[in-house]
Symmetry: C2
Subunit: 352 residues, 2 copies
Amino acid sequence: MIKIIQSKTRCLILSSVLLISLWSCKQESSTSTTVEPKEVTETVMADPLPSWNEGDVKHSIIAYVEDVTDSTSANFIPVFDRIATFDNDGTLWSEQPMYFQLFFALSRIKAMSADHPEWKNKQPFKAVLENDMEALMAQGEKGLVTIIMTTHADTTTDEFEALVSEWIATAEHPIKKKKFKELVYQPMLELLDYLRANDFKTFIVSGGGIEFMRPWTEEVYNIPKDQVVGSSVQTEYDYNDGKPFIKRLAKLDLNDDKEGKPVGINRYIGRKPVFAAGNSDGDLQMLRWADANTFKTMKLYVHHTDSIREWAYDRTSHIGKFDKALDEANEKKWTIVSMKDDWNVIYPFEKK
Amino acid sequence: MIKIIQSKTRCLILSSVLLISLWSCKQESSTSTTVEPKEVTETVMADPLPSWNEGDVKHSIIAYVEDVTDSTSANFIPVFDRIATFDNDGTLWSEQPMYFQLFFALSRIKAMSADHPEWKNKQPFKAVLENDMEALMAQGEKGLVTIIMTTHADTTTDEFEALVSEWIATAEHPIKKKKFKELVYQPMLELLDYLRANDFKTFIVSGGGIEFMRPWTEEVYNIPKDQVVGSSVQTEYDYNDGKPFIKRLAKLDLNDDKEGKPVGINRYIGRKPVFAAGNSDGDLQMLRWADANTFKTMKLYVHHTDSIREWAYDRTSHIGKFDKALDEANEKKWTIVSMKDDWNVIYPFEKK
């Protein structure tokens, strides 16, 4: 049975998921592919950030990178210190109408329900099986934690990886009608490439589940599994009949959001970033952590201002709330990217 | 005050430290240096492992690397999967007459004693201050945990890094009369370089403290901080007067030894290694974890057989006990390196 976490900290990814609309997830046949790191082209491109419109934001990014990688500059940063950390939900891919990991969790509940006939009459499962989001939300945080822990624990790590891999290969976003993994931001892919071409090591630091992200970050972002930091459950090693395996337990390990982000960065990376990007109040502590670096740093906020091509939301949104951090970013003159004004393309499939 | 961990797991690095002789640590002036990743020479060397004697072990290492990096081989391993994990104590550097991290801890007790006059009459501190190892050992595991937690917690992460950096730059081994950081194994440095030249990503996975190792692994092993996995204490983020910092708490987080090694590998790396090297029973679970990989793997044990140039110990040693794992390595035909027979040089300073 599932033990619900009793932690004061909130559940893995769902600290403020409240606004949810109906959804559906198609499952198609899964294909397994071998991923290789993409080669970085050595030739200098005329424009390393073609999906970024000309303007202060694009120019400040390029000026920063050129300055800190110039060995004659007073702001030169040694390669080992060129750490760049990126939030995932809302910073590298979309997060509306709810965090994509929750779509995965709800899809899992449906798949698991065949073995749990009792769920038909038991909340919060009943609400999920009936696509009744209002009833699910009425279960409150406890209901969501139950959904997450039911779908994210009590498997081995190998089993969980296979489940995520199959889902990400096939599942579609209910509104955009694209695979979730296609809803990544083309300008941010270019930024990741540009930083790596300049010997920055790029990391994801997300409130999302670490083992939910790792199965696909190599293919989608060219970011290795070991450069993914996220929320985690506790695990346990076991060894039976000569076969070792690791079990995922229904107990929170790291809640990699807000104060948890610097803690996660310290745990996994061991040094402060020089470049940090986020989109919500949940990233503020990470950007402050970068700001405390003694090297010259860049703090970048993605502001969701495009109601046509993506979504527009900030101070009052239940997902990706950007309020206190928006004030601090303005006050401290951190870089704020307007998706509407600074990006000429949002998703890779829109490229001409 | 220090809270002693109440965990069932044993303390960070000291699971079986019992045999200790007298010691002294000189402190000299510290110099700060900027470390840059060493360039990998692109030209193919005639011999990538010159400090390894010709023989089955050396040949099997080279045959393995050539096989799994050959894109026409059935055993080809994609780059993202080329994960190599190395134990530290006894595998990359010496560990006698006691784990080097304990020398650091004892040195810290002496430095801190000026602010703790009461330690003169209080165990286990009294024993340390009087260089009375027998009395210290009589305090048992509880005494050692007190020593470790007193010296490894209740600082910020920045403060702790500075303490370790100063110590490693100056402290000398009492018997070898060399700096501790000079007592690394030249053949293993060559093996690390050789694997990296073939696109393996090299990690340390040690029972030693992660924040004890990170300040010097870049300079000594060319291994970035984020590729160091080790035992850890819990941490807490705080923010005062606009300054963020992370506090090290006197509570165990991960005990990265034995069963903790696969757990640490899963937490930090997210995939099973294809190459794993250790020297003691504490590494057995890590090597089994590598052995469970579906790719072709290499499991390598360093056997301390050289009583003249280093130390000779295995089945009955209190430090680096190599007994059950020696049987399993023999049974499963894993690679066993005899330091005496397979290495023509032990330490870098012996090179001609």
